[in-house]
Structures are given as structure tokens and as C-alpha cells.
Symmetry: C2
Subunit: 210 residues, 2 copies
């Protein structure tokens, strides 16, 4: 299809779906959580253990599990940290900034999967504990979307954008990564501290600033 | 002094003090805390009790006290909440948004002292407890400054401004109240969630967006 037709069709579809000004993106709020490797899962919960799905998450194939673990660092521990499934190639511990102070670890702002050089922590489960070599991050805020969403919103996978938040604690948040692929649901992922600071709830929407 | 001379002198003083582009404002980060009335202090700690100063705060005459209390709501309690002195006319409980969920209270975004219609909570001290009729707020972000600072920065007491935050979690925060009087130290007050969300520490500075 001719690019100009495609652009106009995108605008039309957006207008029909979301109203004439509809570029609102739903907000998904993450509290601290852990993705485990199969090896670490078995150390913490026992040989051959499988995760128990409790609730599907908005991203296709992702789910919250019944299982929780304790995270411990040199200064303190945080109990009942939720495990998200399915298992991943490498264990990843996503905390909020306040947790870094509680645990006494340095943790950096990173995108999911970018773990080289991040701090390790101790994970404690019912059947054992693991000292991870790395894997603790504070998640960089990002927006999941399909390639069609990206097209409609005028962005592409890997872009870094600003987002606008309305309301009495509103403003603009910079350095928001676009993650576009065809297995994503449209959702802007921020953590609980970012949500609370900006007055956002799981019913809020944000827009990309052009 | 002629207004134009005053304006130029202000710019000169600013340039000498802060460098030619110096409009940086230091950040002060508040965790949850309580201001008590003398009556509530005595109920919680005993008749005739006086607060014990632990550390001066940056605002003249304000200090953190050795004493802490427990806050309790319908859903939960938070222990060891710091009391700030001196005592005030009315008890005021300043929490972060995450605390509202823990306590199970509705708490609104308010400026200090604007307590009409805010929720009450239970405060528990070593000698007794108080059910406050109102007084729980989440503090609206604000900037303390002298009238001379206000003049230099081109704002006045009561203005609502935007502030700019640099860095990987940077952005703009709207709805920041200017509180200018001659007994203030220049400082932008935000809470721990706002600081963590925007990557700010007690060594950070922000600027007012024009």
C-alpha cells in the first residue's frame, strides 16, 4: 500500500477506535518482582519444580505466580516478592528505588534482559537459597505495543520518547523506551513509585509527547 | 530602589552566587512524618511531655525529633513514623501515596495546614493513642524560598510552577507551589516516591520551567 494511504488509514482506524483525539495509552504498574531461571527455580523450590500460575498479565504469555521468595542484601531483606512466569534464560530481580536502600545494593536503571554488570542478591525460597551473580535492576520505563500501534502513534521499536501525565501530580517523564513487536499489548510500564509520584493508577492513561 | 535597578542587581547577585546560568534549586526529600499538637503529644507521650530535638532541618526552626509513633488505619499500621517539631496548632500526618494503600485511607494531595475534610487515623504512642478527626495528607510538592529568591527567580508567593528534572529518570513535574517568605531556606520539597521516581537524591537540584 502507498505510504500516504497507509498513514491516512492509520489515522482513520485510530479515530474510529479511540475517538478523534485518541492516542491514550493504558498504564501498567509493576511492583517489585522476580523472573527466575529454571535452575534457580529448582534450587529455591526443589528439583523439577514448576511455577503455579495465579493470574495472567496484560502482556501475552506472561503471568503472576502463586510463589514468592525473599530477597536479601547486605542491609536488609524484603519478603514475599512475587515471581512472574514463565521461567527465563536468566534470573532477573526488578525492584523499586526504595528497595535498593532497604537491601543496600546499588542497582541501575536498565531495560529488561540487559543485566551485564548489575548487582547480585540472595534469594531465599522454601527449599534453598541462591546468591545471584548479577540480575538486580530498576526497570527503565517503557511502552509495549504492536508494530501497528507504533505505526499509528508515529514511533518505532527502540525509540526513546517523552510521555505526558495529566492531573494534580502530572508532568512529563523523559527517557521512555518503545518496545514494539507483534506479541505485545499496548501498555506503558512504570513502577509503583513512578505511579504514586505522578498520581497514576491502573486505570490511568498517558500520551506520547510529540 | 528603582525596580529596574533591583531586577538587574538581582540578576547580578544570582550570577555571582550561582554562576551565569545559576537558577538551580536544592531538593529536600520528605519521608512520611507527623506534626503533633501539644494536646496530642501529651496524650501519646504523657502529661507535660516535650519533644526531644534530634536534628535541625533545612527550614529555620524546624527539627526532627527522637520520638516516633505508629500510624494505624483500617487496613494496616506503619511503625516508627518520625515526629517533626516544634508542636503545631493542629496535628498533621504527611504520608506517601503507598502508605495510603497500606493504611486503607483515602488521603488527598494538600498543602501543609490545609486540613479541612482530610481523613483521620489512629496514632499510637508509648503512653496512649489518639483517633484524629482529620489531618492525613499527601503533601503537594512546593518550593520554599525567601522573597529575594522569588524576585530573582521571577516568581511570587502562591504561584504554581513547573519544575524540570535532569537525568535518566528526568522530566517535568507540574503543580509545584511557591511558598515565599522571609523565614524560608531555598529548597524544593518532594516526597520519597517523587524523588525515587524522578531519580532525585538530597544532592540533586531542579530548575523552574519558564
Amino acid at each position: 500500500m502507498n505510504d500516504r494511504y497507509k498513514e491516512i488509514l492509520g489515522l482513520l482506524i485510530n479515530a474510529l477506535q479511540n475517538g478523534p483525539d485518541g492516542n491514550e495509552i493504558p498504564v501498567g504498574i509493576s511492583n517489585r518482582h522476580i523472573h527466575l531461571s529454571q535452575a534457580d527455580l529448582e534450587t529455591l523450590f526443589g528439583a523439577g519444580y514448576e511455577l503455579t500460575k495465579m493470574k495472567d498479565l496484560s502482556q501475552p504469555g506472561q503471568y503472576a505466580c502463586k510463589e514468592t521468595v525473599t530477597i536479601a542484601g547486605p542491609k536488609g531483606a524484603i519478603e514475599k516478592v512475587r515471581i512472574l512466569g514463565p521461567v527465563r534464560k536468566e534470573t532477573q530481580i526488578e525492584v523499586i528505588v526504595g528497595d535498593k536502600y532497604k537491601l543496600g545494593v546499588a542497582g541501575e536503571l536498565r531495560m529488561s534482559g540487559d543485566l551485564a554488570g548489575t548487582p547480585g542478591v540472595t534469594l531465599i525460597g522454601p527449599k534453598g537459597s541462591v546468591q545471584t551473580k548479577q540480575g538486580l535492576i530498576v526497570a527503565q520505563r517503557h511502552i509495549h505495543m504492536t508494530l501497528a500501534d507504533a505505526d499509528r502513534l508515529g514511533v518505532k521499536n527502540g525509540d526513546i520518547v517523552d510521555i505526558k501525565v495529566e492531573g494534580p501530580r502530572g508532568g512529563v517523564m523523559t527517557n521512555v523506551a518503545i518496545r514494539a513487536n507483534d506479541s505485545s499489548a499496548l501498555e506503558c510500564h512504570i513502577d509503583t513509585e513512578e505511579a504514586n509520584a505522578m498520581g497514576l493508577t491502573s486505570k490511568s492513561t498517558i500520551t506520547i509527547v510529540k
